[in-house]
């Protein structure tokens, strides 16, 4: 007991000296929180059960996965509506940016981990199809005023068409998620959109993927990696299932650098988002967890280092919306 108080006191002094906030009571409350959490971890590290964070709560590691599962099971039905409401539609731009940076070509194989309702995979298939259409249009335009030689050399339209079709068949997206409810919602969306070819839905754990080595060209995980209990294991699995030359891409909420924006963002997260969750989805606690889990996720540089440690090269990140979201990308060589 005495040892922990000493630890607490030491941490409070450290945090107090770092703290910019002027209000004294606020400082005590704020500085006591992180130090208390770390004191709690000191207790539990000695025990047999390792503990981790679930939002701002500390839970045993075994429990986290189950609780995350329950959260997403209950939000699955209203997930897309809530995303639009919480981000005011901006999440669509973030996902479009991911695809733009990815710039997939026809024939690529995508693994969308924690893909849930399939947003990335649908965009992937759309992008690839529009690429193919662009290529087709270009060749058609080129064929408008050809010279005699060009006509004779390019007079193989039937085989060209078949080639493109096989390429279309080869562009495949696999949506993998640990949560069956989310996949169900995604499948319903696919059916209503009429998308069926080139898409498969697989239940799987990001820390232990049900795929062979060297299978995919691109591995994406959008807004899912902060819910994984062991992020390093998920990164190792990503290295394993990617082909050499394959790309790892991760969209995740990250640290906002601008202090004014950061305060606005915090206020919005903690005031508005659980309220929206209660009103739209009837579930305050799940959205409380969601905004807390964002705060517990490592910042851009730390995450970049984690990706490099897992074995990726040329790791970069782009900050979107002032750091609210970061897009990390790395290559397996």
């Amino acid at each position: 007991m005495a040892a922990s108080i000493r630890l607490l006191a030491r941490r409070i002094v450290r945090d107090a000296s770092r703290n910019i906030n002027s209000s004294v009571s606020g400082r005590i409350v704020r500085s006591s929180c992180p130090s208390n959490l770390s004191a709690c971890r000191c207790f539990s590290d000695g025990a047999t059960d390792k503990s981790t964070h679930f939002g701002f709560e500390t839970v045993p590691e075994g429990e986290k996965a189950e609780r995350v599962y329950k959260v997403f099971e209950s939000v699955a039905q209203k997930y897309d509506v809530m995303n639009d409401a919480m981000s005011l539609g901006v999440h669509r731009l973030w996902k479009d940016m991911l695809l733009h940076v990815m710039n997939p070509q026809p024939g690529m194989r995508l693994l969308d981990v924690a893909g849930g309702t399939g947003d990335i995979s649908f965009r992937f298939l759309d992008y690839v199809r529009s690429q193919q259409e662009r290529v087709a249009r270009r060749t058609a335009r080129a064929n408008q005023t050809p010279s005699w030689q060009e006509i004779s050399t390019s007079y193989t339209p039937p085989t060209e068409g078949i080639e493109m079709e096989t390429e279309a068949r080869e562009s495949r997206a696999v949506v993998c998620d640990i949560n069956k409810e989310m996949l169900k919602v995604g499948k319903q969306k696919a059916e209503s959109m009429g998308v069926s070819s080139g898409l498969s839905w697989v239940v799987g754990d990001a820390e232990e993927l049900p795929f062979d080595d060297d299978q995919f060209d691109v591995y994406t995980i959008a807004f899912g990696i902060r819910n994984v209990t062991h992020i390093d294991l998920a990164l190792q699995e990503a290295v394993r299932v990617l082909k050499p030359g394959g790309r790892f891409m991760c969209l995740e909420f990250s640290k906002v650098t601008n202090p004014l924006l950061s305060r606005l963002y915090d206020a919005y997260s903690f005031q508005m988002i659980p309220v929206l969750g209660e009103v739209i989805a009837g579930d305050w606690k799940s959205y409380q967890y969601l905004v807390e889990s964002i705060r517990k996720f490592p910042d851009q540089e730390t995450f970049k280092r984690m990706i490099e440690e897992a074995g990726f090269f040329s790791v970069r990140y782009h900050n979107l919306t002032g750091g609210v979201v970061a897009l990390h990308s790395g290559f397996k060589l």
Partner: protein, 286 residues
């Protein structure tokens, strides 16, 4: 900077955390106190944070947002009982305090506040109630549950009231609602619900009831609006004002009492019209 003061301040902030959340602090304080609520240190088997099971502490801004949001959601879909409940909790602070004071002033109400009975299917002895004579309160209540196909367990738990006693008063109000239907002789179709809402608005003064009473008639057809405005409405409001506080009655001990007797005791006139309990599907059309 001595160590004991820091610990004691930490403990104090722990105890005061819920009050802090409802105070007018900086936004950052709210985030911090939210963090406090989720600390695993509090208790080994903490199945709830806050003052009572299911309590979610909120600050005035969040309450205002919740009130507006739930109001809109409830208007769009009146069958979203959870939204009606949230609206009532976030707007009813003053009315709940008045109700609680009225209950304290009444000896039976005071007993309820100390004993905290809950009306649940598990606490009701249904076979015994079914064996009671017709016209007794218990038998009529059971008949009401059967005719309208409702259950007392479908009430949402209180979440956003930041006082433990007031939360119980709110919960009691919700659980007494069905009994009120029986007392007033109103079924659970739209017309019956509006009549009960008018009674409750006059009695409790809860803003949610007043809003419901004002906007409920808009969803009624003209054929149903007529009896409401001419006879049912004035009757409901008059009785709401003159009746004894309905929350102060220990209904659980009065199942054998005859319904007429109970109405007399509470100063409630019998309904001027009898409305048949139609099925839910039929009421959706009206």
């Amino acid at each position: 900077m001595s160590q004991p003061t820091h610990t004691s301040q930490m403990l104090r902030s722990l105890l005061v955390s819920s009050r802090r959340c409802t105070g007018r602090g900086l936004f950052m304080d709210e985030a911090a106190c939210v963090r406090q609520q989720h600390r695993g240190l509090d208790s080994a088997d903490s199945h709830y944070d806050g003052l009572y099971p299911g309590h979610i502490p909120t600050n005035p801004i969040q309450k205002a947002l919740l009130a507006v949001g739930s109001g809109v959601a409830a208007l769009q879909d009146p069958y979203r009982h959870d939204m009606v409940a949230v609206l009532g909790e976030t707007t009813g602070h003053l009315a709940l305090m008045t109700l609680r004071d009225r209950m304290r002033g009444d000896p039976e109400g005071y007993t309820i506040l100390t004993e905290r009975p809950r009306i649940r299917l598990s606490t009701l002895d249904l076979s015994k109630m079914a064996s009671l004579p017709d016209g007794s309160f218990g038998r009529e209540y059971l008949r009401f549950l059967e005719d309208n196909r409702v259950t007392p367990d479908s009430r949402v738990n209180v979440k956003f009231v930041d006082n433990e006693e007031l939360a119980y008063v709110m919960q009691r109000y919700r659980e007494v609602h069905d009994l009120l239907h029986t007392l007033l002789g109103m079924p659970t179709n739209m017309l019956g619900e509006v009549a009960v809402k008018w009674f409750e608005a006059a009695q409790t003064g809860l803003p949610m009831c007043i809003l419901g009473a004002a906007l409920g008639p808009l969803r009624l057809s003209t054929s149903r609006l007529e009896p409401l405005v001419t006879s049912l409405g004035p009757w409901a409001v008059r009785n709401g004002r003159q009746a004894r506080c309905v929350l102060s009655i220990f209904y659980e001990r009065r199942w054998e009492q005859s319904l007429e007797n109970l109405r007399e005791e509470l100063n409630i006139e019998p309904p001027p019209l009898t409305i048949r309990a139609t099925s839910q599907k039929a009421t959706l059309d009206s």
